[in-house]
Amino acid sequence: MPEAEWSKTLKKIQEQFGDRVIEMHAQLGQDTVVVSKAAIFELARFLRDDPDLKYNYLMDLTAVDHFTRKPRFEVVYHFLSLEYNARVRVKVPVGESDPEVESLTPLWKIANWLERETWDMFGIKFKNHPDLRRLLLYPEFQGHPLRKDYPVTKRQPLVGPKDPQA
């Protein structure tokens, strides 16, 4: 896509983070940026605080397991600018051997639970997260069920009754 057709957001990101942007495109009006994992925290802060962008709402944070692709995982962020009614999608490729990205909890409180869910389901760790526990599943659960190599027929051991006083 020619650079002239880029939105304000993409142009600004290219200006500030050009060297760390892996890919960017806009399809059907949806801006998408793929950045390296070293840049995500700064990029998120930039998107939130820049007076021309003001992406002040972290709508979603999740991951995708591409399994056969390398790097295997992609952490996906969706930001919404309530000020300009604009959305941007940011993707961060994450390898299987070191699935860890910077946590966004210092910027958005909601990142706390979204990152816990992503850890629960995909086993992706978040650096500097204050309390990285499973969110939906129980502590005794083994594995991360939304990974593509989690066996469909795998059964988890049943957990016995717990002492409510404990």
Partner: protein
């Protein structure tokens, strides 16, 4: 007068009749504890309300404490996470007690062939009656209830 010619002593004659009488009393005073977690609950409500009138079978009074209940109705999907709670509820009930698996999720796990669901509550508790269906029609539930009554009537009564 009709006499039992089963060859038992007079005492045996008495106990077997007592057994029957207790069974008769128990089968018509089924106090249920509905453990409802999912959509089958709608069908359970339908059974419990006036149209199907479960009170005809003496099961019209659900108890909302397991300590006052005789029959545990497990209605709806049981996940791995709630299984320990279900077991705690079961353990709080006084003997004699029975368990009804209501709907296919509680019987076998149904179509939830996944990481979160218990594939049939008989992995957790002993089950007396299985009522299949997704969800079962009220008639099926009433049939299950009649089967349970038969079972209560014919079993050895603990006193």
């Amino acid at each position: 007068m009709e006499v039992d010619k089963g060859g038992g002593t007079e005492f045996g004659f008495f106990t077997s009749r007592l057994d029957k009488m207790i069974g008769w009393a128990r089968k018509f005073s089924v106090f249920q504890y509905p453990f409802i977690t999912a959509c089958c609950g709608m069908e359970y409500m339908s059974v419990a309300c006036a149209h199907y009138d479960i009170d005809r079978f003496g099961a019209g009074l659900p108890r909302f404490s397991p300590r006052q209940a005789d029959v545990l109705f497990v209605v709806g999907t049981i996940s791995q996470k709630i299984a320990p709670v279900l077991l705690t509820v079961y353990e709080q009930m006084c003997s004699p007690k029975w368990v009804v698996a209501f709907g296919v999720c509680t019987c076998t796990g149904g179509f939830y062939d996944d990481y979160a669901t218990v594939r049939g509550i008989d992995h957790v508790l002993p089950v007396d009656i299985y009522i299949p269906g997704c969800p079962p029609r009220p008639e099926t539930v009433l049939n299950g209830l009649i089967m349970l009554q038969e079972k209560i009537q014919n079993q050895k009564q603990e006193v």
